[in-house]
């Protein structure tokens, strides 16, 4: 058969597109042309084995993480496990919650260790790993609802801050959510950490037992989901402003806790047009959409 992974440039001829099964990466590196070429070459070489590696340990990665193991073996799987381990005692979480961020990190790490790049990003379906050399910055555009992308704001990420990972989770996205958040965007030191944190914060934005929320056992939708028979959100009906506030409060409470423990840099929680921002650097990071972007932005859904 044809090699399964698809590797090509996007129509702009600048961004690399890597696709294999459910993994879909948009990659862009900045630097001298020869360094960019070297980075893309190693990224492509590394990419072709990623899915097989993950699938080799898939049954373990779909189990709730436990601090006493068993532990996965391969590097990406270990990164997934490490990203979710801090949360495994307080909530339900499997390493799959960090798969997108962990893959993005791995490809970014492969590129930056092989080439001298001023900036680079790997966007794995909205979960983004970033590289910034001193003095550089990125502007990330953010969307409120992943299913109908429109920018509601931007985040300026500069090399002085430790943030190198962005992730978004919500019930309208590709993965199932236990909560009702339209989108929770998290900035963290690393993409896998951001991914795991966004997942549990989005789960926490919730109104347990609310009659307007349609929930279905995950296994009824996808028999092999890592969420098993847990109820996942399929539809959210009318919500009063008090209910919106209550749901967001629950998420903000968890986000503040994760912030104080140093797991995240900041978070933006969205529900029905209401946005709550958590994090000391939030004022610097999340900028109103009306302000023109200072440099090339990456759309982040």
């Amino acid at each position: 058969m044809r090699q399964r992974a698809q590797i090509g440039f996007l129509p702009d001829g600048r961004r690399l597109h890597l696709h294999d099964g459910p993994i879909d990466l948009i990659v862009e590196a900045f630097g001298s042309p020869s360094e960019i070429a070297a980075a893309y070459r190693v990224a492509a070489e590394r990419f072709v084995t990623v899915l097989d590696e993950l699938c080799g340990e898939l049954p373990l990665l779909r189990q709730p993480a436990r601090k006493d193991g068993p532990f996965p073996v391969r590097v990406i799987a270990r990164r997934m496990f490490e990203a979710v381990a801090p949360y495994c005692e307080r909530t339900f979480i499997t390493p799959m919650a960090a798969v997108a961020g962990a893959v993005a990190e791995e490809i970014l790490g492969t590129m930056t260790s092989a080439a001298n790049l001023s900036r680079a990003y790997v966007n794995n379906g909205g979960d983004v790993a970033l590289h910034l050399s001193p003095g550089e910055h990125f502007v990330a555009g953010m969307v409120e609802r992943p299913d109908c992308p429109s920018l509601f704001g931007t985040a300026v990420l500069d090399s002085m801050q430790p943030v190198r990972g962005i992730a978004t989770s919500g019930w309208r996205g590709r993965s199932f959510s236990l909560g009702i958040a339209d989108a929770v965007t998290v900035l963290a030191d690393r993409a896998a950490m951001a991914d795991a944190a966004a997942t549990i914060i989005a789960n926490a934005v919730d109104l347990p037992g609310h009659p307007g929320v349609v929930r279905v056992p995950a296994c009824d939708l996808a028999p092999d989901s890592d969420l098993g028979d847990r109820l996942v959100t399929q539809e959210v009906g009318e919500l009063s402003s008090a209910e919106i506030t209550a749901a967001l409060d629950a998420g903000v409470f968890l986000a503040q806790s994760l912030l104080s423990e140093g797991f995240i840099g900041s978070a933006a929680l969205h529900l029905r047009g209401n946005t709550r921002i958590v994090g000391a650097t939030a004022e610097q990071c999340f900028v109103a959409a009306s302000k023109p972007a200072q440099s090339r932005s990456l759309i982040h859904a």
Partner: protein, 493 residues
């Protein structure tokens, strides 16, 4: 675990179980009433991005090709990488207009999903590959059968809906992979029940049971006698051209008689057809002249002592010149092998020289069904009529096709005239092949085309996700204007 209405997707190693009406983890494959299908995003450019097709190739830019444009003095958009519109009631992904010699033309470009398709393989060899109608296997699974042999070639018919979807999952997968590899000009190993194992690659010599076939036979044994009798006359007393079909004997053959070659008392095994022509001197095989013999003398009986004479010179040669042996009779009229005299080695070399290089060739054959046609026009049968009437020309990745007469649009194309890696597959399993319909825009409107989806050529030319390829000089230019007359050839057989 999976309930009985969920299906397992094997498009990637995640192996999702997918419930009816839902998609797997990738959002690309879904369960449509128990069938695994590739789900297409709604937007053409989205599809192009998500498939990774019709984007500029990354590695091996100049060798591999997955783009969408054939360039020449003008440009023609092929369907490769265009994507498809399952389940096809929507307009085709690209409907491109261009002006050709002042006439507005439109090319409807789509990739078709072909369940009804197969590959006809012609293997230039006289070696016996296996009995007619016997099963051809790949990876142990039945993928086709041996069909009627042709002059100097063995023929295989591979694929078809019965193997693709009518048998086990493994059978379908092996068939799809075999067809895909053959169409994309990759080598495929095939084993024939009670026959040979042959490695086939379009445009390359076949390898039969580990032996690379070099040349086609110059003709049958009898024809070879006729062609070379004059060159042998006077240099040798008897020539036997060993051939699985018709073995020729110079002294008995009409050509020998005309030259006045005397009788030699040779006695052949097998069944005599007409003078100097013998059927079934041995069993079919992969040795001398497509027979199973390693020792050519095994097809001879004792010479008639009343006619033969000591020192009688005998040449035995196969129809390709690859096998030959020279004998002289001793005092007891038994053949004794001797070195081939120089005077005869020239004729053996000439037999070889007259044999064309042996190749495997593969024609993709498929039927453009109702739903694919619906992507071209709202009234699908009108497309069929338009092709019949030669108003619409059909190409496959820009290569000419032969449209089989009769109903439907069943066509054949030589895969070596198409760009490389033009074919894909879906895990249904079925093959994905490019197909383009080109016609005058006026005719397109008449047959109920999607006029509001017609976009100018510049639409594609200004985008960046395309690949320019030089048109193959041996192919007619796809935008050459279709003729309006029924008698004109609409395609290049």
């Amino acid at each position: 675990m999976p309930e009985d209405d969920a299906i397992r997707c094997d498009a990637c190693p995640v192996l999702c179980y997918i419930k009816p009406g839902r998609t797997g983890a990738c959002d690309r494959y879904g369960n449509d009433n128990g069938q695994l299908v590739r789900i297409d995003p709604h937007v053409v450019l989205d599809r192009a991005v998500t498939r990774g097709d019709s984007v500029v190739p990354f590695l091996d830019r100049d060798r591999e090709w997955d783009g969408s444009i054939v360039a020449g003095p003008e440009n023609f958009v092929t369907a490769i990488g265009a994507g498809t519109r399952y389940p096809d009631y929507k307009p085709a992904p690209f409907i491109i207009s261009s002006v050709v010699q002042g006439v507005d033309m439109v090319t409807v470009v789509t990739e078709g999903i072909f369940s009804y398709c197969g590959v006809k393989v012609k293997i230039d060899t006289d070696r016996h590959l296996g009995p007619e109608t016997n099963t051809v296997r790949a990876q142990g699974e039945p993928v086709g059968h041996v069909t009627t042999s042709e002059y100097g070639s063995q023929m295989l018919s591979l694929g078809g809906v019965r193997h693709l979807t009518g048998g086990s999952r493994q059978e379908g997968t092996a068939t799809c992979e075999t067809l895909l590899n053959l169409c994309n000009r990759k080598p495929v190993e095939l084993t024939i029940d009670e026959g040979a194992t042959v490695i086939v690659q379009a445009g390359k010599p076949p390898i039969v049971d580990g032996t690379r076939e070099e040349r086609m036979r110059v003709g049958c044994g009898s024809a070879t006698i006729g062609m070379f009798a004059k060159q042998w006359f006077g240099k040798v007393d008897e020539v036997v051209v060993v051939d699985d079909h018709i073995t020729g004997v110079l002294s008995e053959h009409q050509a020998g008689k005309l030259l006045g070659v005397p009788e030699t008392g040779i006695k052949m095994k097998g069944r005599r057809s007409t003078p100097g022509r013998y059927f079934r001197v041995a069993e079919p095989g992969t040795a001398w002249g497509g027979t199973n013999i390693e020792d050519p003398l095994s097809i001879l009986q004792n010479f008639n002592p009343k006619i033969a004479w000591p020192k009688l010179r005998l040449l035995m040669v196969s129809t390709t010149g690859e096998h030959y042996a020279y004998f002289e009779l001793n005092e007891t009229l038994q053949p004794v092998e001797r070195e081939l005299p120089d005077s005869l080695s020239e004729s053996v070399a000439r037999i070889k020289e007259n044999c064309e290089p042996a190749l495997s060739t593969a024609l993709f054959m498929g039927g453009a069904g109702g739903s694919l046609r619906a992507g071209v026009t709202e009234n699908p049968v009108r497309l069929t009529h338009s092709v019949r009437d030669a108003l619409t020309s059909v190409t496959c990745g820009g290569a000419p096709v032969y449209v089989w007469p009769g109903g439907g649009i069943t066509f054949m194309v030589d895969v070596t005239r198409m760009p490389e890696n033009a074919f894909g597959y879906v895990p249904t399993p079925a093959l994905v092949a490019p197909i383009e319909f080109t016609l005058k825009i006026k005719d397109y409107a008449t047959l109920g085309g999607y006029m509001d989806h017609v976009r100018p050529l510049e639409f594609i030319m200004q985008g960046e996700g395309r690949r320019h390829l030089s048109a193959r000089p041996e192919n007619p230019w796809p935008l050459a204007q279709p003729k309006a007359s029924k008698s004109d050839p609409r395609s290049d057989p």
